[in-house]
Symmetry: C2
Subunit: 687 residues, 2 copies
């Protein structure tokens, strides 16, 4: 190791000669970052320059991956939690031989390039996860490490370590300031996830300047308190030190490891290194020139990759091929010895639902006559599914007795019994969401999370990222309205349904009863290209009598005619969830007064809006403008269905603490009120 | 000290005799909690029973407060972060003589009672803050402790310690699992908030059972890592031990203090103590009877308060009166010695805006001809206001160079210079929101926070609570759309405007240019009864030429006619923020084609919707149904203004990484597209 920069004089005057191949590789990464950001005239050069050495060592010496098969199951996972350091990862992918054309590095941050500003899963192979919002990648990695342990515990057999890989994270100061990483770290320590290794790029700089102004805690001690193995601080520019630290971390199998690497943001830049100015904007042509000079970089042309660098780093292709072939051979042996396990593993990993998995689900509540809360119905559906869909695994943010999400007899996921299906996330909703994303991304698990709908607010960022990445995560949100009662306005969601519905590629379903709940679960499991939120009641609801009403399978189209007093109704009542019963009762009250209503159950706006126009016009005929919507939530968005001529019954205020039925009545959610509004509306039209 | 329960046998068989007045008081609190929850048939008995002793000691011996004046400025603040333990606080308030009638304890969790399920600021005097969502109260308390130090540093003079009080928190396991408290604790340690004292009710139980299943970190070590002074673990049932611990904490003025109090959830309940069953549901009549027996409680009637208890605890009224009188005398002396400071202190504390504070603000950009981003305009407005409105204080979540929220020359808030106006929150958005709430609740500060709009997702819970409490906090959210460009979809808000607009009592304003930005700031500061969110661009926007357009003061009504080609337009184009310019350009394109458009700037839906019908009908005449909305965000909610006959131009997808103008164009936000849609709409009507 010849890096001449001792940590104590990090922005020193020493001559960086680039005399070894390792140093040349590292400087290539640094220069590509400077060049790409400069060309885009936008981006973050500082982090790639500071973390290049540590990331390079990991990728060149230790990371088990195969550039020719980014999807190899047993690869080590690498999560760039500091997603703004995207050029670091893009360079590594290109240099190690992933299918990322060199031209794409020059198209950094351009329309439809494979190299967007923050790393995104999708455009380029080898990017495990979309990151950028700080702390998320850290949480995702905990989820990946959980998935690895879960699959290993289920499928490995003595002498057959089919699932056995590390999960590495590169995290920044900002990642570790965010609460989500604190939560995830506490849980990872508790679970003794020994194969999780976090490289902390500790450069003491954030956007407002030195971390001295706000972040002076003892990070090492904090992580020790979580039960982590802490290595360092080491000099993160000293490649051999990084190598040794990672190897030390690998050997500790009972605790996750944090390696504290002291680095210098914008390393090499004579005027901007170690300052916030290196973080989020181009260095400038002249400073790039000076930095290259200081780094001893001899190539005047931007985007230069020395041949010897490419040759050295592309050895990853060969190594990766060998690793994967060796693993394939072992998998073959495993398949011979344990054919059933092997085929179930494949099913888990491909995320397939086994034949017959949904048999009888739609009839689960056929003979149910007593009222049942949709949260309870959901619990029954989950427990009917769980024995058939092995990969279903998840838990609640310390609310499982209330969310009814325990999978009976399926064990707890804990150190020592990693095969359990029930996660205990603790009162940590934010990391719960991030961890679930990591579980889904790893493969092998269809994760679900559960909490009260109000606490969706604590986990919005990971829900959004699941939608953005298009991964299958199932969110169970119970206690879905003011109908939850006494817990009061701090616990009564108002704006949350509107919030969920506004997220692209998220399907939100608020079933009206047990029968719709069973359908909703089927939709959620079948939907592989994005997350689904199930919105469930705390309070009991009648089971809709499908012998007189239209079938619950209508839920699959998002909205359907549930009942009507006449083929050509005077008015349409539209409702979701618990309010469907109110609308139905109102419809019958109106019928007695000679007003013919249609009642539409609209459990999922997204599913309904994606139906063909003819179907939508059949349910909501354009010429029937007399429409009343009923939902115990924010009015936001209801005009999409009722227009300017209808009436939306909803909430413009927060809820209140009182028994649920009292709150519902006081705030106007009664059949009589709905019937009155409907009558008035028709009356007004006549006038 | 006579409590016979050593920590090692906490659910022992010992006879609790209630032999001292202290024990009798504590048991009164426990029994009231059991009785009220039982009567409501809903609630959380366990935490009040376990924490009764520690809370009682604080309130009886150490907390400086005045039951006859819950608003006394220099009172110690008490934050029940574990808001579900509401009966604990209600009992303390009643017993120490606050204006909370005894009957209200019997109306626990009933409609319009003063005793809602989770504590709420408002109904009962003495409740400092609405809590329930875990971790929030902890963050609020950090904000209060900041406000105390800030006011003290500004106004105290040698020999005149006018502002000098503690902030106490009662926090649960759940509070400390949430990431928001981790963030807030890290910042509090950094800031050396020595007068913040957290009593940690460490009962090792959460809803899913023992914390062993998920929360096994070393909390003491974690807080030491944050720079806190940690006392304990002590026996939280041992009143003298609690007393001594708090006194120790009070003496340490350079570090916040965490006192770890080992307690037993549901203490006294023979069958439910120390189990999750004591947490969130009534114990049951029989168990209440058994618990009272075990506690040595001799009164068979529920809701019994022994006279000696009332007599003893009501001494708080006298003590509080004396404290406040003594303080008033000191304040009078101060006022004589420092009349200017005293009057400015009053102005700060009352949250008043000084006469002339807004002079010239509306003309700030009168002569501005160059395009200017609304974030930059906002920075200029803030810096014009700051020298006049002393109480304006806040900062960003490590983004101030980007959010343009530095108050120039107003100093940083740091230990050693607590009078600075610029907070450095670090990359900790969630606690930033909670801390701002605490600053506003304390009084003396009009807090603002700043981050990118996308990171509203990280701080939704405190924003909601600010709206629920009706407090003045100003949120600056910049980088407000896909127009931010290269940072890509992880940083481009889509659903966030809809989300903000759906929160009751939150006013959201998305100004179209610098002139509207100046108006928006005035609205935000004048709005005392709730929070305001200002939504600002990263990209530059032309300054609307008010010599030819209608004045920016129209912003105060939420929406206004900006320009029109004719008094009776064919079509209305409605837009907000950066898209107003597109709509305006489209209006002119249409004019050339002989189509007369009206352009409505609609920066704030909430302000517009609260206008009289006549005004709204003037801006959006009901008979003009041809309407096109343009907003580079989720379509959610736009049908409120365009109905079923209009066209909403917005986004159903996530954004993309590319230069801002490219993204805007590719995703359809151009004047030509708007004009085309408008023409097509009119064409369709004719067909």
């Amino acid at each position: 190791m010849t890096d001449p920069h001792p940590a104590q004089s990090r922005v020193g005057e020493s001559n960086i000669s680039g005399s070894t191949i390792d140093e040349l590789c590292v400087n290539t990464i640094r220069c590509l970052a400077m060049d790409a950001v400069q060309k885009a005239n936008s981006g973050h050069p500082g982090a790639p320059m500071g973390a290049a050495a540590m990331a390079y060592i990991l990728w060149d010496r230790l990371l088990k991956h195969n550039p020719n098969d980014a999807g190899w199951l047993n690869r080590d996972r690498f999560v760039l939690s500091a997603g703004h350091a995207s050029m670091l990862l893009y360079s590594l992918l290109y240099l190690t031989g992933y299918d990322l054309p060199f031209e794409e590095l020059k198209r950094f941050r351009q329309w439809e390039s494979m190299t967007p500003g923050h790393v995104e899963r999708g455009p380029a192979p080898g990017v495990e996860v979309t990151t950028g919002p700080l702390g998320q990648g850290f949480g995702n990695a905990v989820g990946m490490a959980i998935a690895e342990r879960w699959l290993a515990d289920h499928y490995n057999r003595p002498g057959h370590e089919i699932i056995d890989h590390y999960t590495y994270v590169l995290a920044s100061d900002g990642d570790l300031m965010e609460g989500v990483s604190s939560e995830a770290a506490s849980l990872a320590g508790h679970l003794k996830l020994g194969k999780l290794i976090v490289l902390y790029d500790d450069n003491d700089i954030s956007i407002e300047g030195s971390t001295d102004i706000t972040f002076t805690e003892d990070v090492a001690m904090r992580f020790q308190a979580y039960g982590w193995h802490v290595v360092g601080p080491i000099d993160g520019l000293d490649m051999d030190a990084v190598d040794a630290a990672i190897q030390t971390a690998q050997k500790e199998r009972n605790r996750p490891c944090l390696i504290i690497c002291k680095t210098i943001i914008g390393y090499g830049s004579p005027n901007k290194a170690n300052t916030g100015a290196a973080h989020g904007e181009p260095l400038g042509e002249e400073e790039v020139r000076l930095a290259k000079e200081k780094l001893g970089w001899p190539y005047p042309e931007p985007f230069t990759v020395p041949q010897e660098v490419l040759k050295h780093m592309r050895q990853a292709v060969h190594r990766g091929h060998e690793w994967q072939e060796e693993w394939k051979a072992r998998l073959d042996e495993y398949r011979r010895a344990y054919p059933d396990e092997a085929s179930r593993l494949e099913q888990d990993v491909w995320g397939e639902l086994p034949p017959g998995w949904d048999e009888g689900l739609s009839d689960l509540f056929k003979n149910e006559t007593k009222p049942i809360a949709t949260r309870d119905a959901s619990g029954k559906v989950m427990n009917a599914i769980a024995p058939r869909v092995h990969s279903l695994m998840g838990g609640a943010g310390d609310l499982s007795p209330s969310t009814k999400t325990i999978l009976n007899g399926q064990g707890d996921f804990q150190s020592g019994s990693y095969c359990g299906h029930n996660m205990h996330f603790g009162v940590r909703e934010h990391s719960m969401g991030a961890i679930a994303n990591g579980m889904a991304l790893h493969g092998g698990i269809i994760p679900y999370t559960a909490t009260f709908l109000i606490f969706y607010d604590y986990m919005r960022p990971p829900v959004r990222l699941a939608a953005l990445m298009g991964i299958r995560v199932i969110y169970i949100f119970t206690h879905d309205s003011i109908g939850l009662g006494e817990d009061g306005p701090t616990h009564q969601p108002i704006e949350h349904l509107a919030g969920l519905r506004a997220v692209p590629n998220l399907v939100t379903i608020r079933p009206a009863d047990a029968t719709e709940t069973a359908e909703a679960w089927q939709v959620a499991l079948e939907r592989k290209q994005g997350p689904t939120a199930l919105i469930l009641t705390r309070q009991k609801l009648p089971v809709l009598d499908r012998s007189v009403l239209l079938p619950a399978s209508g839920l699959r189209r998002g909205g359907y005619i549930l009942w009507q007093a006449a083929e050509k109704p005077d008015i349409i009542l539209i409702a979701t969830g618990s309010e469907v019963h109110i609308a139905l009762e109102a419809g019958k009250l109106l019928q007695k007064k000679g007003i013919f209503a249609r009642v539409v159950s609209l459990p999922s706006w997204e599913l309904f809006d994606s139906q063909p126009t003819e179907y939508r016009n059949e349910v909501l005929p354009p010429d029937i403008r007399m429409r009343v919507s009923v939902e115990a939530a924010s009015l936001m968005g209801w005009e999409r269905y009722i227009g300017l001529d209808g009436v939306a019954i909803g909430l413009k205020r927060f809820g209140a603490s009182a028994p649920g039925e009292v709150v519902m009545e006081k705030l106007g959610f009664t059949a009589q009120r709905v019937a009155n509004e409907a009558s008035r509306l028709l009356q007004r039209r006549k006038e």
